[in-house]
């Protein structure tokens, strides 16, 4: 066998092994999803009333029940309001901040960036006490702004990081040419930077949608009135002290997964591009 053929064989073997590892990992990550769907589809009490990976029965009753019993439509509307608002705000403010950092070099810009990025390291639970006090003092308990504000603030760091990387990759010549043509900074931002950063926009949007949609603790503490609760809080209904309805809990969770999955599928290509572009330019 020639050296070239050997190299090709080795490459194929390496690729095969890589695929095997990836398949194993994919199965590993898919198991909880399968358990969720199978359990949600089984009639109450089937399979010992616990978690199941093998379907004992097939029914959509749990979905119907949780839809009515938890008032899920109302909760979903609340979640959509909060998620869409915070995502739009994060896109707007983080792209503007990144634009400022990239376009206007000033003394201490790196320190400002560092401070902004420090937010990535802050889990909501670590700041919950002062954050709650602030929301309370602003009179925003049981108010959409009580969630939109914190979600936006907590999403800014990641947004700025992605937009800064994307904006840094835009050739300076284009910006210079636009300036020569008399474009204002706003026009440069809107007509050049944003259209050239669609993958970053998609990435930040998906990450923010994921975060806002799935966030539990702040929503639990801020939205204490039933008509203001977000959809993530619905599963508590089925977690009793001495018993739990796993079938219905998983039906709630399966329903909540659908919108996020749709968002991801729509922006999947841009999301991957956004992540890889961030990785290379980082």
């Amino acid at each position: 066998m020639s050296a070239r053929a050997l190299t090709v064989r080795r490459r194929q073997l390496g690729r095969g092994l890589l695929h095997l590892v990836l398949i194993v990992l994919a199965v590993f990550f898919l198991i909880p999803v399968v358990v969720m769907i199978v359990t949600a589809l089984q009639a109450a009490g089937q399979g010992g009333g616990g978690l199941s990976i093998v379907p004992h029965s097939l029914t959509f009753d749990n979905f119907r029940a949780v839809w009515e019993e938890t008032g899920l439509p109302r909760l979903l509307v609340n979640s959509v309001i909060v998620t869409v608002s915070s995502t739009l705000l994060v896109l707007f403010f983080s792209s503007l901040a990144a634009f400022g950092l990239v376009q206007h070099a000033f003394v201490g810009a790196s320190v400002v960036l560092l401070v902004l990025l420090a937010g990535i390291m802050l889990p909501p639970a670590a700041i919950i006490v002062p954050l709650y006090a602030e929301i309370h003092d602003f009179g925003l308990l049981n108010n959409y702004l009580g969630l939109i504000g914190p979600y936006t603030a907590l999403g800014l760091s990641v947004g700025i990081l992605f937009f800064r990387n994307a904006f840094s990759a835009i050739p300076r010549d284009i910006v210079r040419a636009a300036k020569v043509d008399g474009a204002s900074p706003w026009a440069i931002y809107v007509r050049i930077f944003l259209p050239l950063s669609l993958p970053a926009i998609a990435t930040v949007a998906i990450l923010q949608v994921l975060f806002s949609w799935n966030e539990f603790l702040i929503a639990l503490l801020v939205m204490t009135k039933e008509n203001r609760e977000t959809a993530q809080l619905a599963y508590i209904t089925y977690a009793g002290l001495y018993s739990a309805s796993f079938e219905k809990q998983f039906a709630v969770l399966a329903l909540l997964t659908i919108p996020v999955l749709l968002v991801f599928l729509v922006f999947q290509r841009q999301f991957v591009r956004g992540l890889t572009s961030g990785a290379i330019k980082g």
Partner: protein, 489 residues
């Protein structure tokens, strides 16, 4: 307890009096006098001194109260929309809407930490006896006046005596106070030796009269293929329960006294209790590797409920397991029998030391805790305070406790665990309540003491450490905790 429904009916009479007037009717002198008399009567009724129970409820407008808890047992997941407490309370109090906010327990602690100091928590809060209740004392309403008005001057007498005395002593420590900022909603009674009656019969053993007999029947049970007693020591909490049960034979109340600094953990009674505890492991009373076994689900469900173990040290708090097939017919209980070297005493009086079969004289005592209490947030306006109190009174009163008695142990003397049909099982459960009046305190005032004691127990049993040396370390931890809490020694 006052009759809420009647009180409400009386309230309704006031405003509805106006509605019943006939607008078309001619205004005669007689009707004017009649109206004046009714109005005067109504005012007099409002001003009548005496118990508030006899007074009309002053809240006429619809009031919404928020009840925050992690422990809303009447909300059964499979019965959504049928929260029995909420339904019954709102039916009895049509002017009040009860908004139950249920939290997972770890998040509940965060919710309290954030919302209580800001005055934005629920109006009624569910709390645990001990550290949690003490921590929020400054933010909670003193309920003495409301309780006396609503439930009568000696309202405490309706409750198991320890359901009142225990939280009062613990939560005020190191001071003494007659203030109540909590009401006892349910209790936990443990420390009895539960057994499968039919397994005992099948193997041909009977309830032991002393520890020697317990060892003998354990050997026979093991030979017949059963684990004599299931013990889930890995979870740690059963271990302090066991020690309190054993030490109670040598000196009742000694563990509590040691924690409060009135005695030492190196007291002879505790040393003897811990030494005996280690001996029971050497005597092969339990499942293999108890310190590698969890209480739930292994010891309780997989061993005892699954009939692999013939006995378990538990109590009436474990009624959630009584749905096990054959449990009602066959689960019976006795107190842990007399330990060699422990003094003899007839603390039970005429009460049997087991149901249906007593164990011998001078057995261990049961252990007792007030598992769940409800409190009211300070600073509520008058209407909310009235409504919040109505809910507390309902919840800890006969109506609320009767509803909850399907799942938990009531703190009222007159209410018993419900939902079971087997007479023998019901008798056995009720026996726990009678014996619990002599019970030992279960929960520790300071988590530091409990953790130090759990470590000492594990070191003695697993690592063969010296009991006295290990217990001396507990004394150090307990003293530190007391000083931190404002105690003197």
């Amino acid at each position: 307890m006052s009759d809420d429904a009647n009180a409400d009916k009386r309230v309704e009479a006031g405003p509805r009096g106006e509605e019943t007037r006939q607008p078309e009717a001619t205004m005669t002198r007689r009707s004017v006098l009649k109206s004046a008399a009714m109005a005067g009567g109504g005012l007099a009724l409002l001003g009548t001194p005496g118990s508030a129970a006899a007074r009309p409820f002053i809240t006429r407008a619809k009031v919404t109260i928020d009840y925050w808890t992690w422990h809303h047992i009447s909300q059964v997941p499979t019965e959504k929309g049928r929260d029995r407490i909420k339904a019954a309370f709102e039916q009895a109090n049509p002017n009040i809407t009860l908004n139950v906010k249920l939290f997972p327990f770890p998040d509940y602690l965060t919710a309290l930490k954030t919302a209580v100091p800001n005055g934005s928590s629920g109006d009624v809060l569910g709390l645990q006896n001990g550290a949690l209740l003490r921590q929020y004392r400054p933010y909670l309403q003193t309920l003495n006046t409301l309780a006396e008005k609503g439930m009568g001057k000696n309202w405490q007498k309706a409750y198991l005596s320890k359901a009142i005395s225990l939280p009062q002593r613990e939560n005020n420590w190191p001071h003494k106070s007659d203030e109540y900022w909590w009401m006892p909603a349910e209790v936990a009674i443990l420390g009895a030796q539960w057994y499968w009656q039919d397994i005992f019969q099948k193997v041909g053993v009977s309830v032991p009269k002393d520890y020697g007999e317990l060892k003998e029947i354990s050997d026979k049970l093991r030979s017949a293929g059963y684990i004599p007693t299931a013990w889930g020591a890995k979870d740690q909490w059963p271990n302090t329960d066991y020690l309190i049960v054993y030490a109670s034979q040598f000196r009742p109340g000694v563990v509590e006294a040691a924690e409060l600094g009135e005695r030492k953990f190196t007291d002879r009674a505790i040393v003897a209790g811990l030494t005996f505890m280690a001996q029971t492991v050497k005597d092969n009373l339990y499942n293999t590797g108890p310190f590698g076994t969890t209480a739930y689900p292994e010891a309780y469900q997989s061993m005892f409920a699954a009939r692999k173990a013939a006995m378990i040290n538990t109590g009436a708090h474990n009624i959630s397991l009584a749905g096990t097939p054959g449990a009602q017919e066959n689960w019976r209980a006795f107190l842990f029998p007399h330990i060699p070297g422990a003094p003899q005493s007839n603390w039970l009086g005429k009460l049997p030391s087991g149901v249906p079969t007593p164990t011998g004289p001078s057995p261990s005592r049961l252990i007792f805790d007030v598992g769940y209490l409800v409190s009211m947030r300070k600073g509520l306006d008058k209407a909310k305070q009235d409504a919040a109190w109505r809910f507390i009174q309902f919840y800890v009163g006969p109506k609320g406790q009767r509803i909850n008695s399907f799942w938990t142990q009531p703190s009222l003397k007159a209410v018993h665990i419900s939902g079971f049909t087997n007479k023998g099982f019901v008798n056995m459960l009720n026996w726990h309540f009678a014996v619990a009046e002599f019970g030992e305190r279960r929960e520790f005032l300071f988590p530091e003491t409990r953790e130090a004691l759990q470590t000492a127990i594990e070191n003695v049993i697993v690592n063969n450490a010296d009991p006295r040396t290990e217990l001396a370390k507990v004394d150090v931890a307990a003293k530190k905790a007391r000083l931190k809490a404002g105690g003197k020694k």
